[in-house]
Subunit: 411 residues, 2 copies
């Protein structure tokens, strides 16, 4: 039985950074961008409503999925209802989706499932996190809870430590260098400098990256993403509704997800995240079932989970953009820069590294970038002739992973 | 476009109570019951596998949804992957679903969506909570987080306080009495006494209930549910797969959900939970789309969210089993006892009141009871000729609500 096709028909995100806004305030900022995009669409503004976009949403929106770790606990339980209420959509079925840093990717997956089920024509996938309203010692607690508690957190192994172990082993096995890791940071900060929503909008050079203070050897300050406040959302619509709203739909061509052991000592290798390859395969199979003829070589741009520079190297390897162990040389060659002609543009938004990483919002913000790129609205960071895109969102150190494939225009 | 039909094909739950097990341990206890039920089914045990049920799940299970507040925070982030790993199912796409006490009901809803999408033939809806591994003062914190933080929790208004306000207003407006509230406790403890999985398996009489110490006037000790450790899970299958496994499917005929203002001062009335009526209407509409001809009068048994006795009165009113304000007299009349002949059996499992209320597990445990009842396996508490059932799961004081309808046999 063929799955029903679904498409993105709207996107919004807040400024990422340290803003002092509440989670509900960031959600509303993100919603405002989505609302104003929707208001200009054919079929939305035809009525007499004072706020046609909200009237349209009240009429069509059947489900909402909000990715969040509820970092800091300001509204730890039941927050999804609060967010919907805050933007005038109380009543809509909504829940929080939590898979640590992959919460947003799974919120998107569940929104895709909801629309594909035929039970609603329109679903909202959102994500939100406020990380900077608690003191640093509390940040360490809240970040730690996304890794294994029994074996890792209580032993003091935080995420920089986990990814530093991965980086050290990658260097040992494949000869990966600090300069190759730095190439991720240099590229993503260059992209982030063109993104007005990014937390960091300044370029950095290789020298500055490799000589930065160590956070956890071999990872330095610029190898690590930051703690960020932010929110992001996309609208997922049925084929029929998408056709009413847009001439050329941005299809969610495939959705794939996987899980793995939570603690890294339960995995066979430190140098890869097996859930990435499995989620990618599942996404390709899902695309095939939906009638999309796509291979990984068709991807024009990819938003991947670069919580640390080593994570992007493992991502480009696990997704098959290059071979295992080749991520360092591949990235250092410039292949993943925008419009290099030698590979997909990786993290044109600036990635987690420069755009920032508000945990639950990240997976959705990746889809926001895809929507901007595939509708030609990415401004100075526009990837030329972008037609096929991929998002890759990892929870913790790889216990959860969601991969999505997108295609502009006809299948 | 008609939605694809889905059915329950398996169920399991742990003993509810104060057990000393970890969340993963309770998940595994619940899984063991599901696994052994599955192992005896045609089409599962045909192969040569040492553990045919797990082999069957590895082959068919495409999604898992785990409802949990992660109460106490032992594994606050990313727990879904850990639970799957713990029962030999690492790799399966899984996420935590959180809507406070309605987490389980939304996990079920999302499992239904996942199978209805046609993207998988089989999904797991599970829920788990450990509430008794933290001291009492921490329990107050963790329970409080499911209500509004800004206006209620920080003002000291805990859940007994919120529901006591509702009860006092219900008494004022409708003349509801303490004896009518007590009728809920008496009935549900009588049912719980027949449920070997229930936290409390002892009957109580009206005198004991009305003379119990006050928790928050007018609610006494027996008007309040307990803090409970427990896990529950059901398997949701496509029509085709269900047909291979069972002669007479237990259809999930309809799924409905709604949200509302999180803080009670933002609602029009204290005497009802509007999300209940909206979710019920949505479930009936969903059933109609699926070709099920069902009205609320067809319900033979209902598992409703009786976190406090007043909550069950508002539930039977909001679901339409009786009129607004009539819940007290309706319940006191005995109409909602098993096999009364004058109304649906309400909470034949013992409900949250006697079976216990492990937050994230509750909504799924309701579906476990429905599966047992509609397959004639409810033993001493079997509802006679049960064919249509309903579950009603509320998050917080009514910010979230999920209602499901079930039907045994042909539509």
């Amino acid at each position: 039985m063929t799955a029903r096709r679904v498409a993105l028909v709207g996107a919004g995100m807040s400024r990422f950074g340290v803003g002092g806004k509440s989670a509900a305030g960031l959600f509303a900022e993100s919603f405002e961008e989505l609302r104003s995009g929707l208001a200009g669409m054919p079929g939305v503004s035809d009525g007499d409503d004072a706020d046609p976009a909200v009237a349209f949403l009240r009429a069509h929106l059947g489900e909402a999925f909000v990715g969040s770790l509820s970092f800091g606990g300001a509204q730890l339980g039941n927050p999804a209802a609060l967010f919907l209420e805050h933007v005038g959509l109380a009543g809509v079925s909504a829940r929080r989706v939590e898979n640590a840093c992959a919460s947003g990717g799974f919120a998107l997956r569940d929104a895709v499932n909801a629309v594909a089920s035929g039970k609603t024509e329109l679903a909202l996938a959102a994500g939100v996190e406020v990380m900077n309203d608690v003191p640093d010692r509390h940040k360490r607690y809240w970040l730690g809870v996304s890794g294994d508690t029994e074996w890792e957190r209580t032993a003091g192994l935080t995420f920089p430590g986990v990814y530093a172990l991965m980086a050290a082993r990658h260097m040992h096995e494949y000869g990966t260098t600090k300069e190759q890791l730095a190439a991720v940071a240099v590229k993503n900060h260059a992209n982030g400098a063109l993104n007005p929503k990014a937390q960091f909008q300044k370029e950095v050079d290789e020298k500055r990256v490799v000589s930065a203070p160590a956070v956890c050897d071999p990872l330095g300050l610029f190898d690590c993403c930051s703690t960020t406040d932010g929110a992001a959302m996309v609208l997922v619509a049925s084929e029929k509704l998408a056709g009413d709203l847009m001439q050329e739909p941005v299809w969610v061509a495939g959705s794939g997800a996987s899980t793995d052991a939570l603690a890294i000592h339960d995995r066979e290798r430190l140098t890869e995240i097996p859930a990435t390859a499995r989620a990618k395969e599942a996404a390709l199979q899902d695309a095939e079932r939906g009638g999309f003829s796509l291979g990984i070589e068709d991807v024009d741009l990819a938003e991947v989970h670069d919580c640390f520079t080593i994570a992007e190297l493992m991502a480009v390897e696990g997704l098959g953009f290059c071979g295992l162990g080749e991520g360092g040389a591949f990235t250092k060659s410039g292949a993943t820069r925008r419009d290099s002609g030698n590979g997909p543009a990786v993290n044109p938004s600036g990635g987690l590294k420069a755009k920032g990483h508000p945990l639950g919002a990240t997976g959705v913000a990746q889809a926001v970038e895809v929507y901007r790129q595939l509708t030609g609205q990415a401004d100075k960071r526009q990837v030329r002739d972008a037609r096929v895109a991929l998002t890759h969102n990892v929870g913790g150190s790889g216990a959860t992973c969601a991969v999505h494939l997108f295609q502009r225009g006809d299948a």
